[in-house]
Symmetry: C2
Subunit: 367 residues, 2 copies
Amino acid sequence: MSSARKLYKYDGKFRMYRAGHLTSPTLAYETWGELNTARDNAVLIFSGLSPSAHAASSEKDPSPGWWEDMIGSGRPIDSDNYFIISVNSLGSCFGSTGPASLNPDTDERYRLSFPMLTLEDIAESAHLVVRHLGIECLHTVVGCSMGGMSGLAYCVRHAGKAKRFISVSSATRALPFSIAVRSLQREMIRSDPLWKKGNYDPGSPPVSGQRLARKLGMITYRSADEWKQRFGRERATDPVRVDDQFAAEFAVESYLENHANKFSGAFDANCYLYLSHASDLFDLADHGGSLAAGFKKLKLDRALVIGVETDILFPIEQQRELAKGIASVCADTQLIELDCIRGHDSFLVEMDAFRPVVCDFFESCGA
Amino acid sequence: MSSARKLYKYDGKFRMYRAGHLTSPTLAYETWGELNTARDNAVLIFSGLSPSAHAASSEKDPSPGWWEDMIGSGRPIDSDNYFIISVNSLGSCFGSTGPASLNPDTDERYRLSFPMLTLEDIAESAHLVVRHLGIECLHTVVGCSMGGMSGLAYCVRHAGKAKRFISVSSATRALPFSIAVRSLQREMIRSDPLWKKGNYDPGSPPVSGQRLARKLGMITYRSADEWKQRFGRERATDPVRVDDQFAAEFAVESYLENHANKFSGAFDANCYLYLSHASDLFDLADHGGSLAAGFKKLKLDRALVIGVETDILFPIEQQRELAKGIASVCADTQLIELDCIRGHDSFLVEMDAFRPVVCDFFESCGA
């Protein structure tokens, strides 16, 4: 399949936020639409933990992207009006430099020698692409889930260089429940003997630990209410055969099994560990010493915070806290609470609820 | 330490609810107080998944039990008035026959040759002890968590032989969220290479998988709100040293680590798998073809359903469903919704909230 992916290799030392540096990292990105002559119609999208830069289809790559319904001609983030940029997060494994990449200084994979990754690094590396594309000021920064925190880091560190901000099912920082879940997911991978302290054979990754982590992910990405309605106590019609009596018996078990099988092997284990850890580390309060000080660093004309009532990973209280904080420095801040049933994943699957909200935002910008 | 544990060996074939049988199983139990001459003051306690029969201290065993604050002289379930019986669940590993026990037919451990376990089997085996003690009719059956479902099984199958029923943070059956969590916990253990399809060396059990399962347990036993208040983004003061950069950094991570260390090795892995699976299988609707039919089988004079608003494993809606169903056949049914913050575990740790509710119940029985 042809790819719409572009690569930008930064020439020089990229200093990491906590410590260390990367030598000439590569950033993979895709774009949709055209930059106008005023160069003021660029929209930067920050993804959640796992997607590539392929947020939507295009002529060059007609395969559907992770936010297909949201981006493109005639869609809420309309490529007829906007120049849309999606960057594969630094630390990921879909073209951007990460733990699975070769370290040019050693000609070996970074693995755990990759420096500690933060969402500030993801924001700064995306900024390299923005500069490379000749953009001085972004029309809007949009971030989903982990990407909402990366977007917040961007807006705080480049105050005034992003005029608008949309946060989708994100937060100012992770709470202990989410930290506990992600910490346990990382431990599942690290407990798999095939992980080998990060030195696994790329042909034989710690799939067992990755499957467990993926299943725990699914449990926290969706909602108990959705599953109650969808599965109840329905039995599996295609029970997954295993060699003992603890086979998947209920529909919800085979659903998890099928999802884990789909995902398994698609994501590098070390990259996952780094990105998951970065999600725990981010705290807006690190930018100034308190949340209030962090918010004060923002210079936005307009903001939109969207959250979902059944989200247990980025709960609705965190959406309210985020909206209230931004509103304290940006009068034109809107909070939209959606009563979607599909929990954290709603922004990927309940498009009928999310589309009009994002559509209204951009339409009322009058581009 | 001296033990208050008594053993009752049933002489004969114990037929299991689904299929198969056990030859002359042993049941471990403890009692407090004395059976009165009318033999009508016996209270049977069903525990959650992991405890032994040691629910409270006594002269013979002064170590605190798992429901220490609730049982004993002058306590809500008062041993001065009642004869209290706690049986280690069949399938467990604290004296009662389970997968870790020797099969007298083969002189080898049962392991996965143990027949499929159900909560109906736990109820029936407890009934063997009740009969052995010469009790025709129980004053009250009390069940916590999984034990609430075992207690429901008891009351349905011995209608009229238990006059009162107290369900604590339990349900009529598990919902898909809880099934998914428990299924994943079982998979964590089964994925540990040391599990060896159930044939692990007792001296070298699958502790890594058990630790992961225990941590996921903790995440679902407590509540996000509790952890937010308790830990926030506090850093670990005693960071657990591991050999890579993913050491426990946050207080919530070292809390989970310390809890998992405490529990690890205390519970046989195969027993855990059987009891966990039995929790998924139970469904009151199996007794009659529907929930309504199941409730109709109850013959109770009085019932009390206690639940906690922050419980995600046995959510408050399930408490309401259970109370409503019992009320349809037992006019004197009370539902108490507690706003404790500690989730499912509240019945073990928020004793100031639970004590008065149970106390009122027994005091108004006027024993």
